[in-house]
Point group: D2
Chain length 393, copies 4
C-alpha cells in the first residue's frame, strides 16, 4: 500500500510531497530525484521560468543515512523566485490586496470552472494550484518509485512521438536507440528530421503568440508478469495508469500498446501470440512464456504480461497564449482578453518525463500489492521466488 499527497501553489514557497508506504532500505539521495527534476525542465519551447526554477529537492524525513527507514518520505522543493512572491502569495490576512486579483479566465484552463466551483473572485486562488508547476511534485514521487523499481530490473524511458502533428519516424530504431537519442535531444525526440521540423513549428507558434501540444510515449522494461489484476475493475493496471496519465495537466488522451490503432484492425492482426522458450533456447537465465509482438503494450486483462509497458498520452497545446483568446471578466461580465501568466510554447518533452513518473507510481503500487513487504531484502527474496515460479510453472 503506497499513497502520496502533494501540496504547494505554483508561486508558493515550497512544493511538498508526502509518500507513505515505502519499504525500508531503499538507497535514496536527493541526486536520484534531482536528476528527474532536471529532465523535466529541459525542452525547446519552454519559457524563462525554467531558468529561475532549477528545481532541487530536499529530503526532510523518511530517509536516514542514505536509506529509507519505512516511515513517510517528505520531499520539499523550494521556489527560487519566492522572494518576488512572498507578499502576493502570503498566508497573512494583512497582506491581502484585492487590486491584484486575476479576473480574466484563460480558456482551456481550470480558471473559470475552478472559480465557479470554489466561489472565488480571484482566479489566482485557482490557477496557482491547477498550474503544471505541480507536476514537479509528481516527478519527485516518480523518481522515488523508479529508485525502488530499478532494484528489480524495471527501467523507464520516454520520448516525444509528435508535436503539433509532426511525428517522429521511429520505425527503424530499437528501444535502446530511441531511449538514448531521446535523452540527448532537447525535444526528447529520437528522430532528428522531425526535430528540425518541430523546432520550426515551435518558432512559428512563438512568433504568433500561439502554443503547441503533442504526444509522448513512455516505455517500461523489465516489468514482471502479474502486476494488476483482472478480478475487479479498479485493480486493473491499465485503468490505473490511464487515470494517472489523464490527470496530468493538459492530457486529453491515453492509449496503451496499439491503442486506437487496434480498433482498426482484425483480431488476428492485433493479439500477441504466445510462445514458450526453454532456458537454452532463450539464451537467458530464465525459461518461460513469451510473445514476439507487443501490440498489447504489456498489459492483458488488466495484468502485466511480461512484455514492456508501452503507453502514450496526448497533450493539448498550452492554454496560456501570448496572443490571448476571448474571455469574459468574472467581475464585470464584460468581454476581455484572457489573462497572460508567464508560460511556455510547448511542454511535450516535459510531459514525457512526467508521464514516466505517473506510470512509475502505479507500477510501484501494483508491485507492492503483489509482493507486500516492509524492507527491500524481504521484497527481493519474494521477487526471486516469483521469478522461479514463473520459470517452473
Amino acid at each position: 500500500m503506497i499513497r502520496f499527497l502533494t501540496a504547494g501553489e505554483s508561486h508558493g514557497r515550497y512544493l511538498v510531497v508526502i509518500i507513505e508506504g515505502l519499504p525500508a532500505d531503499i538507497l535514496l539521495q536527493p541526486e536520484d530525484i534531482n536528476r528527474d527534476l532536471a529532465r523535466r525542465q529541459v525542452g525547446y519551447g519552454r519559457g524563462k521560468r525554467m531558468e529561475i526554477e532549477k528545481d532541487e529537492v530536499e529530503i526532510i524525513s523518511g530517509v536516514r543515512w542514505g536509506k529509507t527507514i519505512g516511515s513517510p518520505l517528505n520531499l520539499i522543493v523550494a521556489n527560487r523566485d519566492w522572494v518576488n512572491w512572498q507578499e502576493k502569495m502570503s498566508i497573512r490576512k494583512e497582506d491581502a490586496d484585492t487590486s491584484l486579483a486575476v479576473t480574466r479566465p484563460r480558456p482551456g484552463h481550470a480558471d473559470l470552472a475552478g472559480a465557479l466551483k470554489y466561489n472565488q473572485k480571484d482566479i489566482r486562488h485557482i490557477l496557482e494550484r491547477s498550474s503544471a508547476r505541480e507536476t514537479t511534485a509528481r516527478v519527485a514521487v516518480g523518481a522515488v518509485c523508479k529508485a525502488f523499481l530499478e532494484k528489480f530490473g524495471i527501467h523507464f524511458f520516454s520520448h516525444v512521438k509528435a508535436i503539433g502533428g509532426i511525428s517522429a519516424d521511429l520505425s527503424k530504431l530499437s528501444y535502446s536507440e530511441i531511449a538514448s537519442r531521446a535523452e540527448k535531444s532537447d525535444l526528447r525526440c529520437a528522430d532528428e528530421e522531425a526535430v528540425k521540423k518541430i523546432k520550426a513549428l515551435i518558432d512559428e507558434a512563438k512568433k504568433k503568440g500561439d502554443t503547441l501540444g503533442g504526444i509522448a510515449e513512455i516505455v517500461v522494461t523489465g516489468v514482471t508478469t502479474g502486476l494488476g489484476s483482472h478480478v475487479h475493475w479498479d485493480r486493473k493496471l491499465d485503468g490505473r495508469i490511464a487515470q494517472s496519465l489523464m490527470s496530468v495537466q493538459a492530457v486529453k488522451g491515453v492509449e496503451i500498446g496499439l491503442g486506437f490503432e487496434s480498433a482498426e484492425r482484425f483480431g488476428s492482426q492485433v493479439h500477441d501470440e504466445i510462445f514458450y522458450q526453454t532456458s537454452s533456447e532463450k539464451g537467458k537465465s530464465r525459461a518461460g512464456f513469451s510473445h514476439k509482438t507487443n501490440n498489447a503494450g504489456g498489459i492483458e486483462g488488466g495484468i502485466s504480461n511480461g512484455e514492456p509497458l508501452v503507453v502514450r498520452c496526448a497533450m493539448k497545446p498550452i492554454a496560456t497564449l501570448m496572443k490571448p483568446l476571448k474571455s469574459v471578466d468574472i467581475l464585470t461580465k464584460k468581454p476581455v482578453e484572457a489573462a497572460v501568466e508567464r508560460s511556455d510554447i510547448c511542454r511535450v518533452p516535459s510531459l514525457a518525463v512526467i508521464g514516466e513518473a505517473a506510470v512509475a507510481f502505479e507500477v510501484t503500487r501494483a508491485f507492492l500489492e503483489k509482493f507486500g513487504g516492509d524492507s527491500l531484502g524481504e521484497i527481493y527474496s519474494r521477487y526471486e521466488d516469483h521469478l522461479k515460479t514463473l520459470e517452473n510453472f
Copy 2:
C-alpha cells in the same frame, strides 16, 4: 461517497453488485436497470449467448416500495444457462474434474498472465472472471447512477464512431439526431452508410473466424459546472473517467473532447473561448458563462465546465477467435491453438452502453462529493442553490 463491488463468474450462478452510498428517495425499479441491460445486449455481430442471456435484474436490498432508503443496494442477475454449468462451476470440492481444465491460453486475454499471477493450472479460474460478462454488473451500476442523475437533468447517450477502421460521418448531425439514430441502430451507429459497410466487414470477419474492434463515444448533457477538482491529481474528473473506461474489457485507448487530435493543432484552434449570456440573451432561464465550442469535451483542469462531457474509447478486437491464434499449452508447454470459448465477432455497440455506465458512475461520485447529502430532496435543494450561485456569480 459512493462505491461498489461486483462479484460473479461468467458462467456462475449470479452476477452480484453491492452499491454503497446512494442517497434515499431515488425512484428505482428493476425496469430502470433492465432497460440498459437490454441495450447492452443488442448488436450486430454478437453470438448466440445474447439470446440465452436476456439479462434481468433483481433488486434484493436498498429499495423499499419503489424508492431507495439509503442502505446498500444489492442487485442480482441470474445466469439463465446455469443449469448447464452447475457442475462445471460448482463450489463443491466433490465436483472437481481436472479433465475439464482449460490449458490453452488465448492471446489478448487475461488467460496466461492471470494463470501465472494466481498460479492456476486451469485457465477457467481466470477467464470466468476476466470475461466481459462482468460488464453486465457494471451496466447495472451505471443504470442506477443514471436514474439518480436524471433527476438533475443529466442525460447520457452513446454511439459507435467506428468499427474496424470504418468511421461514421456525423458531421451534419446534432446530438439529438445522433442519439436517436444510434438508439435505433443494431450497431448503435448514427450513419447508415457506415452501418452497411461495417456489417459487410463483420460478415467478412465472421467468415474468416476473425474479430473486430472499434470506437465508441459517450456524451453526457446537462452536467453542471464544478464536478471534479484541480486540487489533487486523483480528484480530477477526467482522470477518473479515464480509469473507469480503460478498465472496461478490451479498451486500449481513451480520449476526451478533441483528444489525440488536439495534439495536432495550435492552441488558438483548440481552447474554447469564454462568453457570457444574460438570461434574456440566452432565452433560457439561467444567465451565465458559456462556450461556443466544446473541444475540451466538457472538462477543464479536471473540473466539469458546464458543457457536455464527450469521451471516446477504443476497443481492440475480441480476443477469442474462431480461427484460433498460436498459443502454448500451459501444462505440456507444447505449441497449440488457443482455446475457443463461445464468443462474438464484435462488441463495440455493447461497449458504448458499458461506457455510459462507466462514466455515469464517475459523474455520480463527483456529484455526491460536490453536493453531499443523504436524501434526494436535500440534494435537490443544494443543487438549486448551486445553479443560483452560478447564475449570480
Copy 3:
C-alpha cells in the same frame, strides 16, 4: 488489499456480502461459514427469532471445486421468514402501505437520528439496516478470514467476561480451558458460578421487560510479529481493531490488553519485559524474542508483537425493551412509548462471536498487507521466510 461490502435489510430477502482481495487456493466450503453463523445464534436470553433464522450461507462466486480462485467472493444468507415479509419489505412501489409506518423511535437505537438524517417518515427504512441482524454478514466475512488465517496457525476464541455487572472469574484458567468451557456454555462463559447468576439476572430482566449488556473478550493466538505499522496512524493494528469492534451494533467501549486498567498502574507494572529464548531453551522449533506477560494484549506501537491478541468490548443493553421507554411519535410529535420490534434480552454471547469476526477481518487485512500474494502457496512460502527472519534476526 482486502475489502468487503455487505447489503441486506433485517427482514429483507437476503443478506449479501462481497469480499474482494482474497488469494486463490483457500479451501472454503459453506460449512466453514455455517459453523460460525450457528455459534452467533446460540445464547441464553435470545428471543424466538433465532429459531426462525438458522442461518445458512450460500457461496455464489469466488469458489470453484472447493477452493477460492482469486475472484470476489459472494455470500448470500436467505431470510427464512421472507414469506411473511415479502410485501412489507417489497421493492415494488405498488406494495407501498404507509399505514404500516413505524413512527415511534426507540431510545438507544439509530431510529431517530437515522430518520432525521435520511429524512424518512417511516422508521422501518432505518431500523431494517441498523438492526444487529447485519452482523450475520460480518460473521460470514470473519469465518472466511479465519479459514484463511488458520493456515498460518492463527486461531480465534472468544468468551463472555461479564453480563449486567456479573463477572466471570477466570483467574485460574488457561486460554485453552477458557476456550473450551466457553464453547460449551450457552452463555459463552467459562465460569459456571457466574453463569448461574447471569441466567438469574437475565430471567429477572425478562420478567421486567428489560434488557442487559456485558463484556466479551476475543483472543487470537498464533499471530506473528509484524502486522500493522507504527508509521502512520491509520495503519496501526490496534486502531483498526478498535474501529471494527466499535462499529458493531451496541458496542460502547473497546480495550486491548490491560486496557483501562493499565491507566491505574505504574509503568513498571504494565510493560511486558523482553526475553530471548534459543530454540533448545524454548523446546519449540523457533528461537526468538518473547515476553512472560501480555499486558499489551499483543500489540505494541500499532504492531503485533508475537503474543496473543487480547481485546474486549463492552455492549450496552439491547435497545428494544418489551417494557418500552418514553419516546415521541415522529409524525404527531406527541409523547408515546417506543416501538417494540421482536428482540432479545441479552446478546453478549453473540457479540463474542461477532467480535471474533471483526478482529479476524482486520488481522487478515494487516496480514495481506505484510505478505501480499495472490495464491495460498505463494503466501505460505513468504510466511515461512518471515518466520526464519524472526528466528535469525
Copy 4:
C-alpha cells in the same frame, strides 16, 4: 472527502502535514494552530523537551491572505533542537555511524516489533517515527478542523478524568465549569483535590524512575444530528472515532458515553429517552427532538444524535522508564536494561488535547460527507437548511 498524511521523525528537521479536501474561505492563521500546539505541551510531569520544543507551525500552502483556497494545506513544525541532531538524523549516507545504533528495545514501545517488522538493526529507525512527538502533527490537523467546525457552533473541550488510578470528582460541575477549570489546570484536571493527589503520585513516580498513565475525556458540543451513518460498518461515527483515538500512542482503551459502565446496567437505566420541545418551550430558536440524559455520548446507531459527543480514552504509562525494564540487546541477544530516551513521567494532559484533535478530524470528515461543498458559504447555507429540516421534520 478530507484526508491527511503526516511525516517527520521525532528528532528530524520538520514535522510535516498535508491536509487535502478542505473547503475554501476558512479563516486560518498560524495562531489558530499554535494555540493547540501550546496546549499540547502543558502538563505537570512532562520532561525538559517541552521547553526545547515550543512548537510553532508554518503554513506553507493552501492559505492565501488569511483564508483557505481549497488547495491542499501544508503545515510544517520545525524541530528547534535540529542543530544537535542534524548528523545523527542526517539523510546523507556519508553521515552513517553504526556505533550510535540503539539496540536495547524498550518494553511497551514499538521498538522490538518495529525492528523485526522492518528488519532494522538500529532501533532508532523505528522509535523516531513511533514516538509520541508525531502527535504534534495530529494536533495541528485537529486545530485546522476545529477552526472549520467552530463556524458551525461545534466546540471541543477535554479534561483529565484520572491519573494512576486517582479520579477527579466532577459530579457537581457543569460542562462549562469542567472546561474552564481544566483549561487553567497544569494537569488539565477540573478537580483541585484530585490534582493535589495526582501531583504527589507523579512526584513519587519520578523519584522511582517510574511512569503513569490515566484517562482523558473529550467533549464536543454543538454537533448536529446526522453525522456518520448506520448503513455500513465503516461509516459509523463511533467506529471511526474509536480508530482515531486508539491509534494515538499509548492508548489502550476507548469508550463512548457510559462506555464500559453501560455493560453493567439494565437497558431501562441506559437508553436516553426521547422528548420533543417546540420553540417556545425550549426558549431557544429551534424546535426539535431532544434527550434529558446523554448516556449514549451523542452517538446512536453510528450517527450523531444532537447531544454532545462524550468519549474517553485510557493511556497506559509512558514506556520509557528512567529505571529501565528488562530487555534483550537485539544484536547480542544478551539480557540488558532497556534504552533510555529522554522522556516524561506522565502525558495524560497532553493526551486530552491530542484526543480533541483525533475526534475533530473524524467529526470534520463526517461533516463534509454529510454537507459536501467547496467553499464555506456554500456549506453554511446547506447547514442552515439542515437545521430547518430538523426543526420542521
